[in-house]
C-alpha cells in the first residue's frame, strides 16, 4: 500500500484529536499559555528534524533574501499566532467539534480568493463542494447547539 495513505490518516487523527486535548488543557491553563507550549513543542521538533533530515541543514538560513523571511513571518503571524489564538479561544464559547468544523472550511477561502483575484474557473464538482461546505457551516452556526 502507498505509505502516504496511512500517513495522511495519521495526520488527520493527530490534528483532530489535538483539539480535544487542548480543550481539556484550557480548563487549567490560559489561552496564551496553551498557544505558547504547543508552539514551543512544534518549533523544537521542527528544529530537530531540520538537523536530522534536511540536506542543507541550518546553512540554508544564511543566504535567504529578506523577502523570503518576510513571507514566512507573515505566514507565521497569520497561522501560528492569529489563527491559533482565534481557534483555541473559540473552544471557550462553543463545542470543540463545532469550532473545528467551522475553522476547517479554510480551503473554501482559498477557492474564493482564486476566483476573485486570480479569475480562475471552477469545475461543477467544486461548485457543488462549496455549496455543501456552506450548508454545513449554516447548520453548525444556526442549528447546532453549544
Amino acid at each position: 500500500m502507498d505509505l502516504s495513505i496511512p500517513l495522511s490518516i495519521l495526520c488527520a487523527m493527530a490534528w483532530g484529536i489535538q483539539a480535544v486535548f487542548l480543550k481539556i488543557a484550557m480548563r487549567d491553563i490560559t489561552l496564551y499559555g496553551a498557544i505558547l507550549i504547543t508552539l514551543m513543542i512544534n518549533w523544537l521538533i521542527v528544529i530537530v528534524l531540520i538537523a536530522l533530515a534536511s540536506e542543507k541543514g541550518f546553512s540554508e538560513f544564511h543566504h535567504l533574501p529578506g523577502s523570503t523571511y518576510l513571507f514566512f513571518m507573515m505566514a507565521g503571524v497569520l497561522n501560528y499566532f492569529l489563527g491559533r489564538r482565534f481557534y483555541y479561544s473559540s473552544f471557550r464559547f462553543i463545542g470543540v467539534a463545532q469550532a473545528t468544523a467551522i475553522s476547517a472550511t479554510y480551503p473554501i477561502l482559498s477557492v474564493g480568493f482564486a476566483i476573485l483575484c486570480l479569475t480562475e474557473k471552477l469545475a461543477l464538482r467544486q461548485y457543488f463542494g462549496v455549496v455543501l461546505t456552506l450548508a454545513g457551516v449554516y447548520l453548525l452556526i444556526l442549528k447546532g447547539k453549544k
Binding site: I5, S8, D28, I108
Partner: protein
Amino acid sequence: MSRFRGQFEAILASLSFGTAPIFAKKGLLSGLHPLSGMAIAILTGLLVNIIFVFFAGEWKKLLLSKRQGFLFSLIAGGCNTVAVVTYFWAMAIGKVALVVPITCIYPLFTVVAVLAFLRKSETLDTWTVIGTILIIVGIILTV
C-alpha cells in the same frame, strides 16, 4: 452572545489559516526547504506570542496554571507536531490529490475524540454531526 463570539472566532481562525498559505507559497518560491520555512513561521508566531504574554501581563496567570494544564498542552503540542510532520511526509512521497482530501477528514476524528473524552462536558447534537459531514464532503469535492 458568547456562542456568537465562539463562532465568529472560529471563522476568523479559518480566515487566518486560509490566508497564511498564500504567503508561505510565495516564500517557498525561493527554493527553501518547507521545514526551514516552517521553522521561521513557527518561531515568528512563538516570538509574537511571547511578546504578547509579557506585555499583557499574561505570564502571571501562566505561572499560576495547574500542572494538568501544562501536561495536556504538551500532549496537544505533540499531536499537532505529528500532524504537521506526517502531512509533509505524505506530501513528499504521495500524490497531493490523495493526501489533501484524506487529511481534510480531521473534524470527524474530533467528533470521535469528543465522544471518547468529553462526553460529560460537551453534547453533540445531530445538526453538528450532519454539518461536520457536509463540510468534510464539501471540502473534499472542492480541493
